[in-house]
Assembly symmetry: C2
C-alpha cells in the first residue's frame, strides 16, 4: 500500500536535486493523485513545475485537482498557455468550476481563455448556480440514452462516448425533449440480453434533485438510498447534470465539520485547519467569543444583585461554577443530540413534543442521579466545617434541588432551541452549545438564588 | 420525486384497512426501499406482515435491510421458515451479518438455520472480525478476474457471475494463489478492445486495506481517493473481500456523529436518537454529567480558599462566570478544530509544535480583543458605582488581564490535550470540551486570584 511518509517525500526531493527524472517518473506513476498532491505541498516552490511536468497528462490533471489552492495558483502562474490548456482539457467540468471558484480573477480569465468553447459554455452554465446548491456541485458530463435503444446499442454508445464521462455506471434515459424518463445501470445492461430494449428495463421511478436544492439534502439522499450518482433536473424536468458520489462524500464531510464548528462557536470555514492562517482562524473565532463574553453580563448582573445573599453564606458562591457547569453540560448534551438528528433527517419540527417529552423524562432521571450524588458529596466533604451552624443540611438540600431543577431546565432549553431555530429558518447548529449555555447559566443562577432563599431561613432574616 | 409524508403513509394505511392489496402493491413498487421502511415504522404491528408479503422478493429484502431492528425482529417472528429463507437468500452477505449482529440469539439461530450452506459459511467468516474493523464491514461477494483473460472474456465472466455481486464496477485481478495483483474497472473493460489482456490494462499499484484496519481509516481512504470499492486483504495479501462506498458513507456519518457526541460529553450510541429509549439516553449521558459535576469540586475548592479575597471586594465574584465561560469557549474552539483535523487526517501528533505555535498566536489576538472590549465595558457599565473607592480602574485591569491570560491558557490546553490523548492511544474526542472546560475552569480561577491579589492593593492589606 502506498503511504506518504516523510521518507518518500525526502526520496523524491533528493531525486529532484539529482535530476533523476526518469526514476522520479517511475515512482510518481505508481502513486495516487491525493498522495502526489501531498508531496507537492512539502516541496519548495521552484521545484514544483519541474515535478509537475514529469506527470503523464491524465495523472497531472487528477493530481492538480487534489492540490490546495496556493499550490494550484503557483503552478498556473508558471504554466505556458499550452501547458495550462493541457491540464484544463483533462479536467472534468465540475472540477474546473471548483478551480475557477477558488482562483483570483486574472487566473480565471486565463483558464476560461484556454478552455475550449464547449467546455467554457458548460463552465459558465455551472457558475450560474448558487453556492451550496445541487447545480453548483453537479457535472454536465453523463451518459444519456434513448428509451428505444437495445441493450447492445446502449453498451456500444457507452463504449463510444464514455471516455470523457465522470461515471458511466448510471445511465440516464431521456425522451426527445431531454426530459428524464428513467435510469438504468451498466450492471443491468450487461446482465440483460443484447436485444432487450432500454424502455423495458429502465427504472421509471426516478429520484432526482432540482438544480437549486441544497447540497446537504443531496448528500443525505446518497446516504439514504445508496446511489452512485443522482440526476439533477431543471424546472422543466430536463436532465441538466448529475452529482456523483465522490462529491457527495465531500459534502457530507464538509457539513459535519461545519456543524461541529458551529457547535463550538466557531464560524464555519471552507479551508482545512492547517491551511488557514492565524488571522483567518482569529476572524472565525473572535466574533462568538466576544458575543458570549458580553452576554455573560447577564450572569454577572444576576450574581451582583444577590450580593447580600452571598455575603451571608459565602460558601454558596463556591457552588456556582458547578451548578452552571452541570447545566451547560446537560444542555449541550440535549442540543447536540437534537442538532445531529436534524442534520441526519431523523427528526423534524413536528416531532417537537415527542422530543420534549423524551428529554423531560431523561432530565428527571439525570437530575435525580446528580442531585443525590451531590447531596451525599456535600454533606461528607464540602460542608464539613459547617456542622455547628445547623445549616449544612439545608445548604446541601438547596444546592441539590437546584442541580435537579437546572438539569431539567437545561435539557428542555437545549432540545427546544435548535428545533425552534430550524422552524423559523435559522441554522440549528448556531443555536448550539455556547448560546444555549449562556441562557442556561442565567436561568440556573435564578433557580439557585430562588431555591436558596426559599429553603435557608438565615438568608431572609434581616 | 417520491417523498414520504404523512399523506402517503395515511393512504397506505387506509388501503390496508380496505384490503386493496393490488393497488398497494402498485404503489409500493414505485417506492425506494428506504421510504418503504419508513412507512413500516408508522404502521401498527399486526399490519406489517400483510404489507411485507405484498413486496416482490428483491424489493422485500432491500426494504428489510433499511428497517430498524425492532421492526425486523417483529417481522422475523411472524415469518414461516420458508418466508425467512426467501428474505435471507436475497440479502448480501454483509447485510446478513449486520442483521445477525443486531438480533437476539434465538433469532440468529433461525437465520443461520435458514441460510444455505455457502452463505452460512461466509457469514461465520465475517462474524470473526472485530467490531469496527474493515473485515466486519466488508462483503465477500466481488468480481474476481485472472490476469490472462481478455477484455471480452472478462466481460463475459461479469455477465455470467455478476448478478449476486454487490458491485461489478471494480474487478479484482488475483493470481493462482488468490493474491491480489491488480484491479480494473468495468469502464476500462468496456472502453478496451475485445482482445486486450487484463494483465496489460490492470492497475498494479493497488491500494488495499487489511482485514483488521479500523473502519474510520477505511472511510477516510474513500474520501481521499474517490474509490467506489476498496479491496480487503489478509496477512498473505489474499483478497478476502471488498468494502463498498455505500458502507463507507455510513461509517463516515457514524464517525462524525460519534465525534460530535463525545465532544458534548455523551457516550456514543449506535442507534438513531428517536429509536433510543429514555433509559438508553439516560445511560449514555449520566456518566459524564456525574464525572464533570464531581470534578467541579476543584473549582469550588479554589473559590472557597479565596473566600477572604471575595469577601473584601464581593463584585469580583460576579465576574467568575464570565471568566470561566470565556476560557471554556476559547478552549473548546481550539480543541474542536484540532479534533476534527485529526479525524480528517489533516494533522498528526508530529505537528504538535506547529499547532501550538498557531494556537498561541491566535490566542494572543483573541485574548487582546476580548481584554480591551472587557476593559471598556467594565468601566462604562459594571463598575459605575465604584468610582469613589479608587478601585474600579484596578479591578477592570485585573479582570481584563485575567481574560487575556485565560484565553491564551485555554487555547494551549484545548489544542494540546487532544493531540496528547491521540499520542498515548486515547480517543481525542473524549478529551474534548467538557473535560477541557473543567481543567480550564480551575486554571482560569487560579489566574484570576493571582492577578487580582497582585494588582489590587486592598486585597492584600490586612
Amino acid at each position: 500500500m502506498v503511504q506518504v511518509n516523510v521518507t518518500l517525500t525526502q526520496t523524491i526531493k533528493k531525486l529532484l536535486e539529482e535530476k533523476k527524472f526518469s526514476t522520479l517518473r517511475d515512482i510518481l506513476i505508481t502513486m495516487m493523485p491525493y498522495d502526489i498532491a501531498a508531496v507537492f505541498e512539502e516541496l519548495q516552490d521552484e521545484k514544483m513545475p519541474i515535478l509537475f511536468r514529469l506527470l503523464p497528462k491524465e495523472l497531472a490533471a487528477e493530481t492538480f485537482v487534489e492540490m490546495d489552492e496556493n499550490t494550484q495558483q503557483f503552478l498556473i502562474h508558471g504554466f505556458s498557455d499550452s501547458e495550462l490548456k493541457e491540464v484544463v482539457d483533462e479536467l472534468f467540468v465540475d472540477d474546473a468550476v471548483d478551480l475557477i471558484e477558488e482562483m483570483p480573477a486574472n487566473v480565471v480569465k486565463r483558464i476560461l481563455r484556454t478552455a475550449d468553447k464547449d467546455m467554457r459554455k458548460q463552465i459558465n452554465e455551472l457558475l450560474k448556480y448558487p453556492e451550496d446548491s445541487a447545480g453548483s456541485i453537479m457535472t454536465t458530463e453523463f451518459i444519456s440514452l434513448r428509451p428505444d435503444m437495445t441493450a447492445e446499442m446502449a453498451i456500444k454508445r457507452i463504449r463510444r462516448t464514455g471516455v470523457d464521462k465522470e461515471t458511466i455506471y448510471t445511465c440516464y434515459v431521456n425522451d426527445e425533449n431531454n426530459k428524464l424518463i428513467g435510469i438504468t445501470t451498466v450492471k443491468d445492461l450487461l446482465l440483460a440480453n443484447d436485444d432487450d430494449v432500454v424502455r423495458d428495463m429502465m427504472e421509471e421511478n426516478v429520484i432526482a434533485v432540482h438544480t437549486l436544492d441544497d447540497q446537504e439534502k443531496v448528500a443525505q439522499m446518497f446516504s439514504n438510498y445508496d446511489f452512485l450518482a443522482l440526476p439533477v433536473v431543471d424546472n422543466e424536468q430536463r436532465t441538466v447534470g448529475i452529482v456523483t458520489i465522490d462529491d457527495a462524500i465531500d459534502v457530507i464531510q464538509e457539513e459535519a465539520t461545519e456543524d461541529i464548528e458551529k457547535m463550538a462557536a466557531v464560524l464555519p470555514s471552507d479551508k482545512p485547519y492547517m491551511k488557514t492562517g492565524v488571522f483567518g482562524i482569529y476572524a472565525k473565532r473572535v466574533p462568538w467569543l466576544l458575543v458570549l463574553m458580553l452576554s455573560a453580563t447577564f450572569t454577572s448582573t444576576i450574581i451582583s444583585s444577590f450580593d447580600n445573599v452571598l455575603q451571608r453564606i459565602i460558601i454558596l458562591s463556591s457552588f456556582i461554577p458547578m451548578i452552571t457547569g452541570s447545566g451547560g453540560n446537560a444542555g449541550s448534551q440535549a442540543s447536540v443530540s437534537v442538532i445531529r438528528a436534524l442534520s441526519l433527517g431523523e427528526i423534524e419540527f413536528k416531532n417537537i413534543f415527542k422530543v420534549l417529552w423524551k428529554e423531560f423524562r431523561v432530565a428527571v432521571l439525570c437530575g435525580l442521579t446528580l442531585a443525590v450524588a451531590n447531596f451525599i458529596k456535600l454533606l461528607i466533604f464540602d460542608l464539613r466545617g459547617y456542622e455547628g451552624t445547623g445549616a449544612p443540611m439545608l445548604i446541601a438540600l438547596a444546592v441539590s434541588l437546584t442541580i435537579w431543577g437546572t438539569i431539567v431546565m437545561a435539557k428542555i432549553v437545549g432540545s427546544s432551541l435548535p428545533l425552534l431555530a430550524k422552524k423559523i429558518g435559522f441554522d440549528p447548529a448556531v443555536m448550539a452549545n455556547p448560546l444555549i449555555s449562556t441562557v442556561c447559566d442565567s436561568l440556573s443562577l435564578l433557580i439557585y438564588f430562588a431555591v436558596a432563599t426559599l429553603i435557608i431561613p438565615q438568608l431572609t432574616q434581616i
